[in-house]
């Protein structure tokens, strides 16, 4: 994902802003890292450059 996507992404639960942590980049794209909700602290992984913003209770058993 491009980092500019963060300007509109938010927590799917409480719609607050997200902060990017542990980001790894390849050619201006974020390929892995964690998005953390600035309000509830929920953590959302970036997998293969795709932000996974499924709510945690709807994430079970999903392939990476």
């Amino acid at each position: 994902m491009k980092e500019s996507l963060l300007e509109i992404l938010c927590c799917p639960l409480d719609k607050h802003d997200l902060e990017l942590e542990d980001a790894e980049y390849e050619e201006n794209e974020v390929v892995s890292g964690t998005l953390i909700c600035t309000e509830c602290g929920e953590r959302y992984p970036i997998e293969d450059g795709i932000p996974n913003l499924l709510p945690p209770d709807m994430r079970e058993g999903t392939p990476a």
Partner: protein
Amino acid sequence: MHGDAHTFDAISPLYDRLRPSVSPAVIESGLAFAERPIERLLDIGGGPGRGAEATDVPDRIVVDPAPGMLRAAAQRGLATTRAYAERLPFADDSADAVLFVDSLHHVDAPNQAITETARVLRPGGVVVIREFDPTGRFGCTMFALGRIVGLHSQPLTSESVAVMLESSGFAPSVLEDRFRFTAVGVVEREGDMSEEDGQSETIGGGVLIQDE
């Protein structure tokens, strides 16, 4: 994953090849209802991104719960986000257009998806919903085939989609064609409601758009 996401993830390589093509003309005719320039579009339940690809919007984001589908979309150069339509991870007033191309019937709670769509769209923004007409023979066959591969879709009629749109504050219009319908909703701009409420009279109106 909930609903049909697992099934779609399993069939994504095949689906990408077999899925019926998306008519750019039909999508464009829906997007033309927008009352603002379209700079950012969300293709919700967009799978490999055929709907987004049928437009020339500068900023296109494919939203889907199935990662296999999104990898295919990313290979086409489209931005991707893994999410459910009922819990959109996008800020209020962050998009100008939203597409649901043959996807709303896979959503567990379509009403909630439309409410979320109204939240993320800017005033004057547009939602375009393409669905197989479940009352026609072709639509019936598509839904029957879906059940065979294990999908749990709930067929939607144009009337039910128009009601959903209206209850979320959209001014709805329905464009009919042979096998499918296109429901379009425009977000009211501030002040529009008092000036004119004639737009909602176009519900089910006879605008005809032919599939090629």
